[in-house]
Assembly symmetry: C2
């Protein structure tokens, strides 16, 4: 988002929306203006336009939050709610089979974005959240999506500093490269304690009609007593089920 | 959305987003321009701004659809994903108890908007859809939300022409008024074949911390062999569970 005074009216409006994030779901007008780097009068006018449209709503305290109209529009996103609706029955089957946390994620640029989650009530606590972003190298779904990204993007990720969350997070490019090759070969990955010290995840790719990997499904389990190899078949099965529901056939495995 | 040439830049940008709906989830640029009543050059520039922000994405055919960024923003809507996340475990329990379609909806002006659904695979087909709108008088969740709306809104709905979907749809204002009073008294409603001839729904109110009704939960079942009175307790239980998770206590029942 450019911050120059010459940015277009569209940019200014979108900067108001971009002021909201998971750390700032509700903002008073003054905070919106500050975060969007807009004069208060401009912010006031744009917030009024967005509120009239239903993209923002005002609560009893006077703070603004994202409105229901955005939810309705988001329901039209093929990589959001539409994908979620297709995947959900297969995720529920996977949950029934494992009673562990089940997740669905897509790649957006250099991040994983979680689209859906089923949380086991007795399952391990997870740090991921629907609508939240994580880097590709540190999660099971991210490794699957990175492994099936084009090589330029992979090189970009491998060349950058890789964030560390635990002592198990893979930050060595050579090791990561080997893991990505293995993901492509076995169509699944075990991400061991990379985000928290007590959890591991098993992930597998979801393919679209043309065979491209469009999403990833994972199960997150407590590391104590975990048998990741036993989780690979059900996770792969669920991911293939979603792929078939999206129009994929096994004879179109994709070029990667 | 005003259509005068004087409408603001913000209105023009929002009119591009408003060109997308459930009947038009993917649009080529020329259709966006036509539906937003904008010159092609203006539409082109605004679509480019929205695409750079991630609010729109372009598919292989060149058509645009709602992008992942909108999904991320929508995840911050308290009446959207946040409510859904709170309600989901209770909806799952209700599904386990009934194995029928379970729905969660909120009111937006004169409509019901469905926020979440769990579909029974052997359950009756339903016409409602996540992100879709229905009028208040014709659905179980709508009757609950209308019964707990302010009286001005109720009078507005009762004074207008009430759309009919089946011969059972309630279109008589006097009868509707009696039903609304009963909903307030028994804290649940049975909506009998109002949307389709083969389904009925049982709905109950979800209350926020202050006692106001903020949403409604329903179960939709096939009319043959349905025992709506047996469904009222589990639906009420699930709705109260969601209410408690939202911070409501039984001693704060709300003013309506």
């Amino acid at each position: 988002m450019p911050t120059s005074p010459n940015r277009s009216a569209a940019h200014r409006l979108l900067s108001v929306l971009a002021a909201f994030d998971t750390g700032h779901p509700a903002l008073p007008l003054s905070d919106i203006a500050r975060r969007a780097r807009l004069p208060l009068t401009t912010a006031h006018r744009l917030v009024a336009d967005l509120a009239a449209f239903g993209a923002l709503e005002r609560d009893a305290s006077g703070a603004y939050h994202i409105g229901l109209r955005m939810w309705e529009l988001a329901a039209l996103a093929p990589r959001g709610l539409a994908l979620r609706e297709t995947a959900r029955p297969f995720m529920e089957d996977l949950y029934e089979a494992t009673h562990e946390n089940v997740q669905l994620a897509v790649r957006d640029h250099l991040d994983v974005v979680y689209i859906e989650r089923i949380s086991g009530r007795t399952a391990v606590g997870v740090r991921t959240k629907v609508g939240a972003r994580w880097p590709l190298h540190a999660t099971g779904v991210g490794l699957v999506l990175l492994a099936h990204s084009d090589s330029a993007l992979q090189e970009h990720v491998l060349a950058a500093e890789l964030a560390r969350y635990t002592e198990h997070t893979m930050t060595d490019p050579a090791r990561l490269r080997r893991v990505l090759a293995e993901v492509r070969s076995v169509d699944a990955v075990v991400s061991d304690r990379q985000v928290t010290d007590d959890a591991l995840s098993v992930a597998a790719p979801v393919r679209g009609p043309g065979g491209d990997v469009v999403a990833a499904v994972s199960v997150v389990v407590h590391v104590d007593g975990a048998r990741p190899s036993a989780l690979v078949p059900p996770v792969r099965l669920a991911a293939r089920g979603v792929s078939r529901a999206l129009g994929w056939h096994p004879d179109r495995r994709g070029s990667t």
